[in-house]
Symmetry: C2
Amino acid sequence: MPYNIADPGRDLDDLIVRRAEVFRQKQGIDLRTGHLAEQIDPSSKVVIARNAEGNREEVAYDKLLIATGARPVVPDLPGFDLPGVMTLKELEDGRRIKAYIEDHHVRRVAIIGMGYIALEMCEALRARDLEVAMVKPRPRFLPWMNESLAAMVKEEVEENKVTMYPGHEIKAIESDGKGLRAVCEDLELEADMVLVAVGVKPCSELAENAGLELGIKRSISVDRSLRTSNEHIYSTGDCADSYHVVTGRKTWIPLALRANRGGWAVADNVTGKRVELDGVAGTAVFKVFDLQVARTGLNSDEARAYGFEPAEVVIQARTRAHAHPGSSTIGVYMVGDTKSGRLLGVQMVGKEGVAHRVDAPAVALHAGMAVDEFSQTDLAYTPPFGPTWDPMLIAANQLLKKM
Amino acid sequence: MPYNIADPGRDLDDLIVRRAEVFRQKQGIDLRTGHLAEQIDPSSKVVIARNAEGNREEVAYDKLLIATGARPVVPDLPGFDLPGVMTLKELEDGRRIKAYIEDHHVRRVAIIGMGYIALEMCEALRARDLEVAMVKPRPRFLPWMNESLAAMVKEEVEENKVTMYPGHEIKAIESDGKGLRAVCEDLELEADMVLVAVGVKPCSELAENAGLELGIKRSISVDRSLRTSNEHIYSTGDCADSYHVVTGRKTWIPLALRANRGGWAVADNVTGKRVELDGVAGTAVFKVFDLQVARTGLNSDEARAYGFEPAEVVIQARTRAHAHPGSSTIGVYMVGDTKSGRLLGVQMVGKEGVAHRVDAPAVALHAGMAVDEFSQTDLAYTPPFGPTWDPMLIAANQLLKKM
């Protein structure tokens, strides 16, 4: 949605991959939109819903999939329900934001939060030439990221004239009738619109009330076949947890590929083809202005928390070969386990060649590869796309010296 | 060099990574340029050379590295020694080509061959607005490549106004004093300059005359520690062979990363740190006009030749997410072994996101991963850089159905 919001001429409906009618007509699915599922009764295998007219409906099941997703966290503070205070999750949110910008001649936007969505949205709003300020409570920007790589991202955002206020905790949003004010202890940001992007939480209440086991961050706990603690109920998508291939333990990383893959796997499992999912490597990528930012696996803090003894390295290399025009800096952070030799994680920042480069260490994490093995891989080289030694190999070679 | 040749304003010396004086002064290496090594006497551990004055010199060694590289194949046919008939390997070749283009007001170039160098050079020459025609004996363009992907490359080359004549075997090059003529059975190409780019062969004569074992395509046979059949003599770079991580057998794929990596590994081995190299996956990438073309591992013909029972698939996907502007087609070819389930190779063509994407299957080949495992990997997703299901995952899912 941020990329669509960036362009006032584009219709948000462009983003619809498949309309409800297609499910109904082409696939023969009894798709009941406008229904709120209120309760699951696992003992009688029935879902109790309320339809658009407010009437109670019961839907019996043999197998049930809970795919309720996640919703934005909205702090329980004064003024977060004011008109002009937005979140971005549903298509309807996008519509609301686009309409509000136009209807209220929005010039200044305050964004609360500095994560993926906040950063993608700050780019989208700057593309529409709006003034953007960002605020968050913790002083550290992208706290999961190596500090020198995070500094590259911060610089890119600031160069694009976004004002950043890390270390300021929001206390309230106020309105004076003309505009909004995001109020912190020692800071006030005036804005025509406020975007709240402080993260999401799983929509797991329905599952919890049905007695299903919840896991990390109250996500719905599922096994490798996406089955919940009830053998007839599956769950996947942003509401459900998954296994992390590096730690072997449960994690909750609500991202698109896992959600989509989980949907197919449940379909297979309920129709009789047994499928188990390996898990996630924690691979994520986002674009902010001209920078690509990617990660896979663990950082050293996470590694330590899971009992590894991490060594880490951060290097700077070039995105193109020696003397090739148009080259820029690429930063690579890499973590390995000094005990087992295993590769544990990689982070990367650069103007080009980051988004897909991170897939290589992601595959290595799935394979449980050692840093030494990874350092020997035959990665692609041609001058327009990298140096002879890929930046990841340079990082791996440096990391090996520390291990 | 092609990228430098494309720009008449750039000095070829830009490409020099380290000058001879640096080796001599900063590293204290007795670097004897202008010396021709004529013979190795392994029994007395001496290299016999001829210096610039034509005098014989003997260089004694404890350990010897043969890094003689490869040289362009030049057909033994009439006219290939005429002025204006060029090859491109050494820096001096690049200088000669740049000077010839300017000094002789070159307008039309015929390229014999249609491999990596030929294709990179056709782009470089078109960037200088020269007329380019390419000719090769076999009718199939990029014969190692899946035909539908090769057709994408051919179309790109032709759209850039390069005339292609596959299926024409060159018989001679003739000169009429004003220009050159590349003569085939039923075709004559007039040109001011002819570039011969029909491949390279290892410079292994010195090694052969010293009684060292040669391998595939007369490359110098080395073990995983880069040692030749003589325990005191190492070899690496384009003159030496290597192991292929998919087949476990010897191969000869003269590319930059392996050459560079081999140099470091020999340095370690002769100075007492034992290093063995895993081998190559056959990863290669090149750019031709706006297309990126990459491969790793085996195609199905190669797979069959090595005793695998390959299944293959070719898919077309998009380089960006549904409805994201600027998207284009990406073609992915994938091969797996129906016996073992292993991933055997991947090829890719597209305007973006190919060069680094191929690193992921390259890592998978090193890890001996099954197609099924690869299909479960957590690859990066964000709308500007790909669909939710990465094109490689789409290919893997399709391939699994055939396996």
